[in-house]
Symmetry: C2
Subunit: 240 residues, 2 copies
């Protein structure tokens, strides 16, 4: 893991860009010198780690006392895209503009992306936990499909907050029953691109004994800011 740039933010949070082999990432750590619990943070559908809403959430959680890390998934953000990726994205845009069904396009695009992203997250987790400023335990926040896979295969994930607004491949809908960590599931009630009933069915399917759904009125990007604070408190109950 090589740190390539760093800055100290106004609230004392230390923000560093890193690379780990081909994986570009960002690490936010709190001012406190004690080793911090870690939250892995990812956007649904492979949105870049530099996206403003993710960065705002990450900085807030770091100021609250967590180490927060995000990486770009293969073919996403700062990483090179294959011709296949470009074709899939172009096909998706065309279908969405034409109002055509997009499930199968998403399935062919997000399914393999999840399979490729999860090993990168585990590699990153190994490297992060070797840093003295990170103590564990480990939470996961954001991209539902990657989070499901990661929670199933990675015993170091102790709690997870998922955002329902993203495509969840059939494979991950199937393995939702195997997720058993405490869970906070965040749903935008009127998410224009994501089916409400499918999200409620997914919440029902999770195998966790402790699971909470937070649903708020409004569209995909309308999540109220207090949910970031609720998320911090959720992790506060479980990352000790």
């Amino acid at each position: 893991m090589q740190f390539t740039s760093e800055q100290r933010l106004d609230d004392g949070v230390h923000e560093r860009e890193f690379t780990l082999g081909e994986i570009p990432g960002t690490l936010w750590t709190p001012e406190s010198p004690a080793p911090a619990p870690l939250i892995l943070m990812a956007h649904n559908n492979g949105l870049p780690k530099g996206e403003a809403r993710l960065v705002a959430r990450a900085r807030h959680s770091a100021a609250y006392g967590y180490a927060v890390a995000s990486i770009d998934a293969p073919g996403c953000g700062d990483r090179p895209r294959s011709a296949v990726d470009e074709q899939a994205r172009a096909g998706l845009r065309r279908a969405m503009q034409a109002g055509e069904p997009v499930d199968e396009i998403f399935e062919s695009f997000i399914g393999p992306l999840v399979e490729k992203a999860v090993p990168d997250w585990r590699t990153t987790l190994d490297a992060l936990l070797a840093l003295p400023e990170i103590g564990g335990p480990v939470g996961y926040s954001g991209w539902t499909a990657v989070g499901i896979r990661l929670a199933v295969v990675e015993p170091r994930i102790a709690a997870a907050g998922f955002f329902a607004g993203g495509y969840v491949p059939r494979a991950q809908r199937e393995e939702a029953r195997q997720v058993t960590v405490p869970l906070l599931f965040l749903l935008q009630w009127d998410d224009e691109g994501n089916d409400r009933q499918r999200a409620l069915d997914l919440f029902d399917a999770f195998g966790s004994k402790e699971k909470t759904l937070h649903a708020n009125l409004g569209g995909h990007v309308g999540t109220p800011w207090f949910e970031v604070e609720d998320g911090d408190r959720f992790f506060g109950r479980h990352l000790k």
Copy 2:
């Protein structure tokens, strides 16, 4: 309003029993000398104000900084029951034990109870707001059906937290669209006596622009304690 007994709890909360005409009530106020915002707290289906779970919630919210008041609805708790009330309750018990449909019994019993309880709450609100230790604004917490009616007819209600686990008469399901105050709706996902889809439909129907659903795994009495704290923070955003 006549105070009939009082005690000072360990955390400084002042707990007083009162009567207001035929209405018996309890008022919890925080230690702070400044006038406190008020929360009206009621149990679904007219459960008594002395019920342990309600008392625990009320004391917690008073220690947090709110004045909290609860009253017994007509025919409930410490108030005399009519022969009609007794018959309805006996009929309900028989139907539930026999596993028969209970909607119509609930409708004939809870419908009139809501109609009678709401004027008592408004009378109590007048008296409470005349006390120097209560400053408003006013929130409402608990019994959904009474809360819907009260939020529609009573402009002093500024925010409401409803618990989904109780029968909501058709009249209140209809007027849910007229509820426009910020809302926190609390649902037990596996509530054995209350239909989940009906609760989700009710959440959908509320007219409020700011509404949040919190759903937790488990049965009717399994609401996690952190929801009391989430409720305090919800009122903290709106009772200022």
